[in-house]
């Protein structure tokens, strides 16, 4: 998929643990892990809002469009 989730990099950059973010968003760690791996069909705006809020970032920092070669 041309949309790449860069959540792992942002989490490492902010030194935030997945568990803490998952708790803040209100989803399970398993679902957050799937999201980080890009193994989900989509992300709700509510989830994106919480992530941006917690990590003090913009949606563009987390989601990147990489055109298929």
């Amino acid at each position: 998929m041309p949309i790449v989730v860069k959540l792992d990099a942002v989490l490492a950059d902010r030194k935030v643990k997945s568990k803490a973010l998952a708790e803040y968003i209100g989803i399970t760690e398993a679902n957050l892990s799937l999201l980080k791996q890009g193994k989900v069909k989509g992300m709700r705006f509510g989830t994106l809002e919480k992530i941006c809020e917690y990590l003090a970032c913009q949606p563009g920092d987390i989601l990147i469009h990489v055109p298929d070669s």
């Binding site: 999201l35 989509g42 992300m43 709700r44």
Partner: protein, 184 residues
């Protein structure tokens, strides 16, 4: 697939299990009761129950093949209903486990509707066939084809169609729930 649901709309597992047990009891007792009634009931009373009175057929004049054929025909609606109830039992057991949108539960609900639909159609067709079978030995010119449709048959037909539609809607809901689960 189980989906979380509001506790106020979730049926009690105890009630689901009780309904499953009731389905088993009726699915077993209904064909047995009908078989016994068909065997013991006088032909005149049977014709009355089938909505075919005044056919001029007496029990003494019936040939053994007519009795057996009549008995087999009479068993068809009850057997179809029993099959449907067996599917309903499986459906209720899935509900008791909280698997409201499981593929198997929806399949069982559809099976129940098919069984009831077959029972309703048989309830309309069987009396007609029974009239032919029971009057067969009366000879040419006296054989009869009676058609009887009761409001109960039509209501059962409508009920089965409604349950079928609910099963179709549940399948669609299950697909939507599955798609929704893929979003985080």
């Amino acid at each position: 697939m189980s989906t979380p649901a509001d506790a106020s709309v979730v049926q009690s597992p105890v009630l689901s299990r009780a309904l499953a047990a009731a389905c088993v009891a009726v699915a077993l007792l209904l064909p047995l009761g009908v078989a016994l009634a068909l065997w013991l009931m006088p032909v005149e009373a049977l014709l009355q129950r089938l909505g075919l009175p005044g056919m001029g057929v007496s029990g003494d004049a019936l040939q053994p093949w007519q009795r057996h054929a009549g008995w087999l025909l009479g068993m068809v609606p009850a057997s179809c209903a029993a099959c449907g109830l067996w599917h309903a039992r499986r459906c209720f057991l899935h509900f008791a486990r909280g698997d409201y949108f499981a593929e198997a539960a929806i399949g069982s609900l559809r099976g129940f509707s098919v069984g009831m639909l077959a029972a309703a159609v048989a309830g309309i067709v069987v009396p007609s066939l029974a009239s032919v079978v029971l009057s067969w030995e009366l000879g040419p010119g006296r054989r009869q084809l009676a058609v009887a449709v009761s409001s109960n048959d039509l209501l059962l037909l409508l009920f089965a169609a409604v349950v079928w539609q609910i099963a179709v809607a549940m399948r669609r809901a299950a697909a939507l729930a599955q798609e929704n689960a893929a979003f985080v």
